[in-house]
Symmetry: D2
């Protein structure tokens, strides 16, 4: 007879891996509490619906930061992990479980994101990561081993053949990697994408939207022609996913640098998030002071790296989030944009808080501006350059 | 009888403004040397063809830096100005002229870019900027005044009615601003764009290209289906302009922050440059170490600000260009991409110098990697977070 | 008869320059309101005592930021200027004056600091900077001209011969420049310093102090042996000036880069500020998370540049000040230090909010730490390095 | 009979720990190659004299970078580790040893610095870190266990009682930590310091030196009064250690953040390095363009973090070192300074490559500078501030 090792809360996705892990943990003598979240939309088994808090507490702050990792990845998986792990830890505390477990592999970023969140919020927790336990990973060397184990123990086994890649879906995006995608030269097959239409098959007419922002987050989306309006965070985000998906927006194919030091190839589709990033960049630059923006931009890049590496719950993320939040106070107004064939086109914007001054910038009227000032401005900026030239005696050389 | 004030080299575009300035300078007693460059492709009057050096000495370094101002603008005008002014100064030195002049306005960035270049390369030069001289700008208060002056003095006057905005074209891009665009809410009229087709009217079939890089710059472009190949910098760039233009790639509508402290609205189309930016980002991340990339990314952002503000010829730009150049040593390989309906899709990449290690990252084979190491990695990264939690006693609060 | 040009508030120091300017402005037809502040302690004429607000609203935020320009200068003049100009503008508004004036030269930083503050807080203000008005500076080409003018108009003229350099004193520091100091090779004469004793003549016994911090600012100073205690900002700062001055603390001789693009040589003495900087650095690192500190450090460097360049009142300074303030929430505790012969020695520190964990770090006890984790941590950190090596095949080359 | 496990190169310090480790490794069946370096000056057993390469290849680049960790620590230990480990790996390769070993503890930074260097330069190496092997650290739970083991096996045991702290000495500095120093409130005992005299007992006369730099590194030191001259890197550094030590220069007491996430208290004395840092900062700012300096400063901070964390041999350190090296091309000239009672005072400087322009900056002559330009410069800089004010309507609020 097995001895009880205590309770473990397992982040259960309903897939083959975590189904087997669930059973294996029981075999090891643990009492297992399975926990499913809807950001993983697979299988329709919903124990916890975290979608609203995911949008408001995770997607919105990332949007305020224009969070993009390595210039392209919108961090859809990275911000889902702390959201999932936070609830997992809440359940563990509530249920008096001293263990948590997950099915993330030993080479990826997700193990880190899950576990750093757990340690940060529940420092005494013990973590069981089967894919890093030799006993486990030596026993299950591939999908076949898992299938056999599942069948033997009556775990329902997926009947559809597995795609030759792995995918991970949540409200914000789907990511694809592994399998045939591991060769970075291989093109993604056309049937891979689940959230977005192929732009070649998408409508031949754009949809024009109006997105209203307050404090750097969307508060209303309106379809200009149809008049459709969405005003709660979850509804806004789902609607933008729908429009973006319909027009094939937000597909990227990249090689990225994992926290553990490997390069990996990932394909992502982030329809709603991509529309919002374009709109937010526009309204932010329209309303934010230039120098504040420079500082905020560099904070946003750091924030993205922290999130990617799993440090959502950390002193540095708390700090940067606070700073970025402060920068968004005047980021308010409305952006008009068109969504068409995989692309987002900004059409125009207005704001009650813009620093844009039409009279000042006009080529037709002078405004409160004396062009002669520019001569002095330029000449003083040239002092340093002329000194440098004097010393280098190098002007001629450069010519 | 007028007295001779000396020689002035005028950056002449062939347009109404600089035509009038040319005459006005003569009226003031200067001997005027008009100088035209082909980055301004208007009017077919080519005195100096700077296109090759523009691509190699200006566009290529900007590409290596992934130079983008305020997250969106590819700096097509900003890098053209030092290229033009450098030749202007060469001519001035050669001709013994102590003056240079230009038609840039007193509220814009271009006056700064022109003049800082002139001061940096020819510190003793005197600059005549008529649009900042009260005598000039009080006399010519609008287009009508210029037209009258031109007609009166036999300067050929444009017969086509002026578009209600201004545009500036060079090999890299066209920018549009002023006039009806000054209201940031106004949409750009559909007939505005000159370099790119409207994506709604662009082909329904993508073009697939292969771009080969060495040291971070393109060395060959091949059309996969048609087999077309381009191998010199100028040909490569022109060909990508053609393909990008055909598919409507590279249109943006932004509000940006000028160096003089105003916000202004600009519309840009940069077809070839946009394709190259996508391709370069891909091959760079594929071949560059993660931590080098982080540093290089922040240098690239600074570089973009320097360029935008007119400091191409400056100690800081020299320095950063040197550093970025160093970072590109291994940025080599080939990117496959598809161009379609305003968008660029990366399809795959390969490189003899990639740090990507298919075996190491594979989910199917272990490679030279022990997953158990990750446990220690995560736990050590958690030391600081757990300490923070201990002090804050705040885990509960966050849950 | 002169015509009235309106009222001008003059930042009057009581010295020769501003005395002459005062008269000259009257000659030009202005009604002049002279305004003296005690940060300039010269001449005992106190109209406005800004010392308390200078300490709390300017020195304290600079201290929280560890504000140091170009690694050495503690910004004593830079933060005094916005303090002075703010009051000047308040007086101007109150008195309905549309002009302000100052005696700063046309080559220095102070003109910028004064005027940017004025424009930021009173955008409609007109500024009269006589040292940039040809009419004025052509008339007064040197000290002799000023002396003659003063004598002729009955302005009291300094009887003591002028030192062959200029100095500027406030509560925080004295700066010395110009004259014989313009040759950067010349040593500062021993009798130059006014606030600090020559360390060669300072006491042969250290003073040991205890400085208590809360939210990153000092709230109490105690002399350990003598028991003297100071608890208000102004008293604390004056007392540290006294102790620092007695021991010759805070003298530097540097060449710095002015905002207008010149290098200039400056000598500064900042006794109290230097003691505080050492103490604050200590307690900050003791209590602040490492990664927060890194971000805060880079913000502090930017903040220092903004302040130096005159942007105290600017969106970017507001923003950064807010962020830095946030970072100081837990910077609390007590530092013991010794002041002796020009140097400050940190002796020890304690804090109720420190992240220092004596048990965790101890070499004698294990604490909640498993040394085996470090192996995994190191090996994962090495993944990237080993990959790099693999590619470079370069280990041998390096050996 | 023991089985041979292969050869291991042990970084041997001659102290109790590594003496025991040496024996223990033999017990485990390894053939041990002991390797001593003189940066550890203990015990007079010199196998490898790395001092010259330590100065030129490690201290000089750190100096060029003004490398300082967390604003105070000059990284004396951090740069010694890669120097030692590099040779260790060279020996291992030469001797065909597949193992290396060291006596660093499991909580410190040194284990990381040693091992990352080894992995970077010899990716296939196996590392034996006894203080992380349960078998070892459970057996030797304290100094007493080591002493007993040593006595039992005839290892010479230190006769002098151990100081109640640990120290680590090399050519650049000595660090002290652990034991009674673990309580961050405890003052360092006066007899702790070995390299520097107590400033209270140091000479009452300063020594004045002249340090000559080329490309950012010292090439000559001259004692102004005595005429002593040193011109090779090792001699220069040793001489500055001597002068600095004599005057008690370079003592600090700090709490720092280790890479593994703990705060630890360290006391350091770095006499020669501290003098050089002051001198280098001076000549660098004297000769380097302001904007280049800003970028270089931020690179130097990153470089310091990389070094501290053990990444001397890494792509990012290679890259940053290259960039910093480039920045030093014009850092040339001579600094005069005085060393006295724990402090370094810069007295003056000169350089054939300085950007300092005495005529330009002079208050007495105008030089090639028009003060009127400053008005335009300031007004253009104010455009943004006035716009901000306009929008905020907040000037009054601030007053």
């Amino acid at each position: 007879m097995e001895m009880k090792n205590g309770s473990v809360v397992l982040a259960y996705s309903g897939g083959l891996d975590t189904s087997c892990i669930l059973l294996w943990l029981k075999e090891q003598g643990y009492e297992v509490i399975a926990y499913l979240v809807t950001p993983h939309t697979t299988h329709g088994v919903f124990i916890e619906d975290l979608r609203s808090e995911f949008v408001q507490e995770f997607i919105w702050p990332a949007l305020q930061a224009n969070a993009v990792y390595e210039d392209r990845y919108l961090l859809g998986t990275s911000i889902a992990r702390p959201c999932i792990a936070r609830r997992q830890v809440q359940i563990a505390r509530r249920e008096g479980a001293q263990y948590v477990s997950h099915g993330a592999t030993g080479k990826g970023n997700d193990q880190i994101r899950f576990e750093l969140t757990c340690y940060a919020l529940y420092p005494q927790v013990q973590i069981i990561a089967p894919w890093r336990i030799p006993e486990f990973y030596s026993r299950f060397r591939g999908r076949t081993d898992l299938m056999e184990y599942a069948e033997k123990h009556g775990i329902p086994v997926p009947v559809t053949p597995k795609a030759p890649w792995s995918m991970d879906a949540n409200l914000m995006h789907i990511s694809y990697e592994s399998g045939i995608l591991e060769n970075p030269k291989n093109h993604a097959p056309p049937d891979l994408y689940q959230m977005t239409k192929n732009p070649e098959d998408s409508p031949n007419e754009p949809d024009v939207l109006e997105i209203h922002f307050a404090k750097g987050v969307p508060v209303k989306v309106r379809h200009v022609k149809e008049g459709t309006c969405k005003e709660t965070p979850l509804e806004i985000f789902c609607y933008l996913n729908e429009i973006g998906g319909k027009h094939g927006v937000g597909r990227i194919d990249i090689v990225e640098n994992r926290f553990i030091g490997m390069k990996s190839r990932g394909i992502y589709e982030t329809p709603g998030g991509t529309i919002l990033l374009h709109a937010h960049l526009d309204i932010e630059t329209f309303t934010m002071d230039r120098e504040v923006r420079k500082i905020k931009q560099s904070l946003g890049i750091k924030f993205s790296e922290f999130i990617y590496n799993g440090f959502w719950y950390s002193p540095e993320c708390d700090f940067v989030r606070h700073c970025i939040d402060k920068s968004q106070e005047s980021v308010e107004g409305c952006v008009q944009l068109s969504v068409f064939k995989g692309q987002v086109y900004i059409l125009g914007r207005e704001s009650p808080k813009s620093l844009y001054n039409e009279e000042l910038v006009s080529m037709d009227v002078q405004g409160d501006y004396d062009p002669c000032d520019a001569s002095g401005f330029i000449r003083i900026n040239a002092v340093r350059l002329r000194e440098h030239n004097r010393l280098q005696g190098a002007a001629q050389k450069k010519l």
